[in-house]
Symmetry: C2
Subunit: 416 residues, 2 copies
């Protein structure tokens, strides 16, 4: 970790401040830079226009490297390139090879670039062009000059920025990288709250000299982040692993669904899902994981009662007697999915996501989750998550995945 | 719109810079403040610690209102409250009523708050407490004092912050609100690129005096944002609507899936989905919309060939002859879903999401989307989106939803 080198990030774009778009750059840069021993000291978002110039000047006085995103596109609100050229005293020069690349990209779709697009072929003198394999706007690297530190100009859209950053910017940044004196580790937990975690491990961890400690709570999970010299992080890791046991999902920032798919793959087991209130999110999270086709057989989003009957074989008298949001129906859904698919495990969800549909008996947020497995009794739980619709879907799938993780974990350890 | 009042946002949290967490606050604040005629001029993210103090001092010199998120929790890295108390010369006072609320919240889960949690009951002298209905950390409002502008301290987790902001912070902010001289409007498009849009409408819009214009491209959609006096925005709206026609998804920042669910609801039509490569995302996006249960009957995530055969009735010889990723199979999936569910429309997706599974003939990114409707020929398309797995899933569902939107739009207009 280089203590001396300060990295700042400037995100440009009125749309980022205006509410139209989520800024995903920081979390991405943070991870990539740490792997080089660099850390972001500060991040600023400014609207398109003159504020970009001010932000660069402010950051210049404090930092060694500035990453700037956005404002490289073809439209008239894209002016980062021009601002930086003026600020660093580098005239813009037309680069025919860039325009040729743009023409090729348009030709693939049978189109011809308009004159508007040719703006993107102008490069500040002495800048290194960072090729864009997924769009027309090339990135730029300008070495430090005139009191302005090293600048990286990168496109706004993540699917253009990320491949460019990894292939073309990171190799340059690696020259500035620190000496990796510090390591970082993240422990991801599920099924336990932030303050309960600190009650269990906080005092022991705070007693370790030279350890930087942080907690981060999200929907259904808490991350514990430890940073420090390798030996210190090792000491902390032992305390955390011993204290948290099966509540520890991963010793890394990997998603719960990745852990589940990995466990099932290792065990050559399969899963099917029968969703009502989570509406496909459970299947979607599992299939987000590359290689999930080895373990995921089928998902059925049985939103209507008719779908529950015809696809999962839920008896209609159960629906009449207990209602769709009930433990017997959750069990029948999971068991129906198991019969239908022959999977090792089947999970079901049925609940009231809201905002409407709640009753005094079953308020919005009520949910039943069931886990069926061949030759074993079906396990079912009633839970209450009175949240907005999307948070509800997220935390219910989190809970369902953690149920599956713990079940297959116990199989591995032979402790159940 | 108040030209005089400057709002800045400071997000605190090492995890935000470290790559663990996505910052969703800005887009949220941006939307809410604009409704009061206020706009965010700048946003900064700083790590936990002394940088918070520096950032407040810097923002203080430029702004009238500062919104600060994070660092109000129970753990030792939560120090925003203490920093602000020191900076504004307001001693921290213990507020028993806050602790009583915390106790009640713990009691609901059968728990007792630890002494650690009681830190959250301390309030800087003269501050207004903003009640937290979804967590233990209350928010704080500190009126301007000692060269420090109005401060709002808000909790980091969005599900705590948002209800608090709407119920308790916005009414206070409304006192500072501008005079709404400006209006903003966003037009969302699908199926057309950013520079093609500007080619169609750019010149006409730039010719309008006093219009602020911005474009924002995302996966499968582009937003056009116009800001200005009402008459000017009206003039721009007419140009945009006339030029873009059916490529215009919405005259507001609403999601494509909301438009689709609304159209189907108005027309009393229903939809079912049969997904392979999108793995549940299509069902998930539709069921994200409140009220979607009226139009969405069933989704089947038929990941394995067996699932395609047993659930959608895809003939096994089609799978043998053409492979799962083929036009005949996409058609058979959509038609099978239609037969199974009796929905008005059924959409299917089958493709290669990658990173593995591509062939020279069908590279990663190849996808077939089909739309079946009773009494009409099934429509099928072959597309190529050579992207990472998650972007691929996103853009394929975007395409599928837009196909459905255009089909049902034509129904409404009787033009097909």
């Amino acid at each position: 970790m280089s203590a001396a080198l300060r990295v700042e990030v400037i995100n440009t774009g009125t749309e980022l401040l205006f509410g139209s778009v989520l800024n995903t750059h920081i979390s991405y840069f943070g991870q990539k830079l740490f792997s080089l021993g660099l850390r972001i000291q500060r991040q600023v978002t400014v609207p398109d226009g003159d504020a970009i110039r001010e932000a660069i000047l402010e950051a210049a006085s404090r930092s060694d490297i500035i990453l700037i995103t956005g404002g490289l596109g073809p439209t008239t609100d894209d002016i980062t390139r021009e601002i930086v050229a003026a600020l660093t005293g580098r005239p813009l020069e037309y680069d025919q090879s860039i325009f040729t690349e743009i023409q090729k990209r348009f030709a693939k779709r049978g189109a011809i670039p308009t004159s508007r697009v040719s703006r993107q072929a102008y490069v500040p003198e002495g800048a290194t062009v960072l090729q864009n394999d997924f769009g027309t706007a090339p990135g730029l690297y300008l070495p430090a000059r005139n009191e302005i530190p090293h600048l990286f100009l990168l496109p706004g859209p993540p699917r253009e920025l990320r491949p460019m950053f990894e292939q073309h910017a990171l190799p340059i940044l690696a020259r500035f990288a620190g000496n990796h004196e510090l390591t970082a580790r993240v422990f991801r937990t599920a099924g336990i709250g932030e303050s309960a975690i600190e009650d269990q491990i906080g005092e022991q961890l705070l007693a370790i000299h030279g350890l930087e400690l942080g907690y981060c709570a999200r929907m259904g999970e808490v991350d514990i982040r430890v940073i420090g010299p390798a030996s210190v992080v090792e000491q902390a890791s032992e305390i955390i692993q011993k204290a948290l046991g099966p509540q520890l999902v991963a010793t890394d920032e990997i998603e719960l669904e990745q852990v589940v798919v990995q466990q099932l793959t290792d065990q050559r087991k399969t899963v099917a899902v029968a969703e009502s209130c989570t509406g496909g999110l459970l299947a979607n999270r599992i299939t987000d994981v590359p290689g999930s086709s080895k373990v995921f057989l089928e998902g059925n989003v049985t939103y209507s009662n008719e779908a529950k009957i015809r696809t999962l074989g839920v008896p209609s008298d159960l629906l009449d007697t207990y209602g769709a949001v009930s433990e017997p129906v959750a069990r029948a859904m999971a068991e129906g999915s198991l019969r239908r698919t022959g999977a090792t495990y089947a999970i079901s969800t049925t609940g009231i996501a809201g905002p409407d549909g709640g009753t005094p008996d079953k308020p919005v947020g009520t949910v039943f989750v069931a886990l069926a497995e061949k030759g074993r009794d079906t396990h079912a739980e009633k839970l209450l998550f009175p949240l907005d619709r999307l948070s509800f879907k997220q935390i219910v799938t989190q809970h369902a995945l953690d149920l599956l993780r713990r079940r297959s974990l116990h199989e591995t350890e032979g402790s159940e």
